[in-house]
């Protein structure tokens, strides 16, 4: 499972960077979505995968069962998703503003200075 997810991460990163380098506003947005999902997936894989039980300590014992899932990466991913979403929405608004002001989606065509 880890192996397939790693391949997926590689694919996401490659596609994300490719989209970013196009310098079209819409493609850049798609690139960001792909890249941030790649980062989240890496955090996800870092916790270890497999069929484990939920990390809840039952009444009879004082420590977690060894078969329990590591809860920390899930908290990390949750934080990362929220932050990534906030950043992405800011970027989308920025792109909309740029598009409204120049009526141009392609950053390469637009003159600098």
């Amino acid at each position: 499972m880890n192996f397939y997810l790693s391949i997926l991460v590689v694919f996401f990163v490659t596609a994300g960077i490719y989209c970013l380098l196009q310098a079209h506003l819409l493609r850049m947005i798609v690139g960001f979505i792909l890249l941030s999902n790649a980062a989240n997936l890496i955090l996800f894989v870092a916790g270890g995968l497999g069929s484990r039980v939920a990390p809840i300590v039952d009444n009879n014992s004082k420590v977690l069962d060894v078969t329990a899932m590591d809860p920390v990466p899930q908290a990390l991913i949750l934080t990362a998703i929220v932050i990534g979403f906030g950043m992405l929405s800011f970027f989308v608004v920025l792109c909309r503003d740029q598009f409204q002001k120049t009526a141009q989606d392609d950053l390469n065509l637009e003159s600098f200075e």
Binding site: F32, L35, L43, A46, L94
Partner: protein, 494 residues
């Protein structure tokens, strides 16, 4: 429990949230900001005092024991940077009363200014690497907001590369964190340090260190990754540029200082250190050459920031207690002097309505005191004795000579000469050149006080550099010998 470590967070959060509550009342917002930033200065002075007398201060939030809970740590390096940040922020707050336009203020300038400093405080005081990431994001999001507050086409055009490059670097940071967690199962920096100290780095950890290296290099505007800096810094008013110059790149350099001494000591990876070394020297050189080519006041100053970052990175790369101490000294000197120069450039810009050097002139004849303040900071930046820049560069060069790194020493000395040339250019064009027109300098009292306070703190830095540098030497030692940090955070048993 050292509850006072939480004070800076509380003050800045209160200032930001109260500004949000009284969103319509700009005057009240500026008062809140001023009051809380004054408190911020006091509490960071308190933290520095405590750290200096009692050693590294640690706060385990909610009393969760160390490698599992959230930890706030202040050692000398972070406490010193915290104090410098608070002083500069206080001055910028005072300055922005009359030099930030009403439109930006009505769109929430005070909220974002407080939040950006909150992010920097988070970076300085955090003890685990995920919180470092979160604080970085707070800092970045508020910097995005500050950059686009005016919503002019120019600002938005410059914001797109800035935002996208920073998003990429944040994602690289996150990937590095994921790799570290996957290999060690913990993100506490002291714990990671004790774990990695005596073992070989695995390939996973090496990859993680390169990802972090890339992320910090982008944030601190290191040589091949600096393109976002000059344009975006020049697009905003000078008060905001001063805030950016004192926080954004310095926070990147601080993360380098923390992560690449504590977790991945840079000397343990000669290959990465080699890349770091040449990139640092090229950052110095290209920054100053870029500044020589510019013809607008704020562009010169913003491009210069890169050249100064090169010095700091060079100091980190040398990696000895003296070099690390000199790096922190240089950072603080640069925060104060650069902010001061940018504030002065803001005053000039506001009164003349232009940034181009050629259309300005005759300032020295008509404004003696003001010209003198600029003169002081400009000479200090280029490192002439007896000002603070001289001592900052002296200590760095001494560290370089100790390592017999003649290439670095030669580069640092010649770049410093070129800095003088570009400062001279500003001086000749703006202050000495004869111009018919009489100017009316719009220098408000608050603006003058903020500039004078920054100039004075730079002078204090210069005249007491001997005793002050002793504290910095201790800070450098505590960065170099990580034992104290690790035992302070984890306790004796680990």
């Amino acid at each position: 429990m050292n509850y006072f470590l939480i004070f800076p967070y509380v003050e800045l959060l209160l200032a930001a949230s109260l500004s949000l509550v009284f969103f319509k009342n700009i005057r009240l917002q500026s008062i809140f900001s001023f009051v809380f930033s004054s408190l911020f200065v006091f509490s960071s002075a308190l933290i520095l005092f405590k750290v200096k007398n009692e050693g590294i201060q640690v706060l385990q939030v909610a009393s969760w024991p160390s490698p599992y809970g959230i930890t706030l740590v202040a050692d000398l390096a972070s406490a010193l940077l915290l104090l410098a940040t608070s002083i500069v922020y206080w001055a910028i707050n005072l300055y922005s009363v009359s030099y930030i336009d009403e439109e930006r203020k009505s769109k929430g300038y005070y909220i974002f200014a407080n939040l950006i400093v909150l992010g920097a405080v988070g970076v300085f005081l955090t003890g685990d690497i995920f919180n470092l990431y979160v604080s970085f994001e707070i800092l970045l999001l508020s910097s995005f907001a500050l950059l686009t507050l005016g919503r002019s086409p120019e600002e938005i055009r410059q914001a797109i590369p800035y935002v996208s490059m920073n998003l990429v670097s944040s994602l690289a940071f996150l990937i590095g964190i994921g790799l570290i967690y996957g290999h060690t199962g913990n993100l506490n920096m002291a714990y990671l340090s004790s774990l990695l100290r005596n073992s070989e780095w695995t390939y996973g950890m090496r990859t993680a260190s390169v990802f972090l290296f890339f992320a910090f290099a982008m944030k601190s505007a290191m040589f091949p990754l600096f393109f976002w800096l000059p344009r975006s810094y020049a697009a905003v008013p000078a008060g905001i540029t001063a805030l950016f110059s004192c926080l954004l790149t310095k926070v990147g350099v601080y993360s380098f200082l923390r992560v690449f001494t504590l977790i991945f000591p840079i000397v343990r990876d000669p290959y990465l250190q080699g890349i770091f070394y040449y990139c640092a020297l090229l950052t110095m050189l290209i920054g100053v050459l870029g500044a020589l080519a510019q013809s607008s006041l704020k562009r010169i100053l913003s491009v210069h920031i890169m050249s100064q970052v090169g010095y700091m990175l060079w100091g980190l790369c040398l990696f000895s207690p003296l070099a690390l101490a000199a790096t922190i000294f240089f950072m603080i000197h640069n925060m104060i002097v650069k902010a001061n120069l940018l504030l002065i450039s803001g005053v000039i810009e506001k009164s003349e309505e232009t940034r181009e050097l050629l259309s300005l002139g005759s300032f020295f004849k008509q404004q003696k005191l003001f010209s003198f303040l600029f003169f002081l900071s400009a000479l200090s930046l280029s490192g002439l004795p007896p000002l603070s820049g001289f001592f900052a560069k002296l200590f760095l060069l001494r560290a370089g000579v100790e390592f017999e790194d003649w290439l670095g020493v030669g580069m640092a000395a010649s770049v410093s000469l070129m800095t003088l040339v570009s400062m001279n250019k500003i001086w000749n064009e703006i202050f000495l050149k004869e111009k018919e027109q009489v100017l009316s300098l719009k220098l408000s009292k608050a603006g003058l006080i903020s500039i004078v306070v920054l100039s004075l703190s730079s002078l204090v830095f210069a005249f007491y550099s001997g005793p002050i540098f002793k504290i910095f030497l201790k800070a450098g030692e505590s960065l170099f010998y990580t034992n104290d940090y690790v035992t302070a955070v984890l306790g004796e048993n680990l």
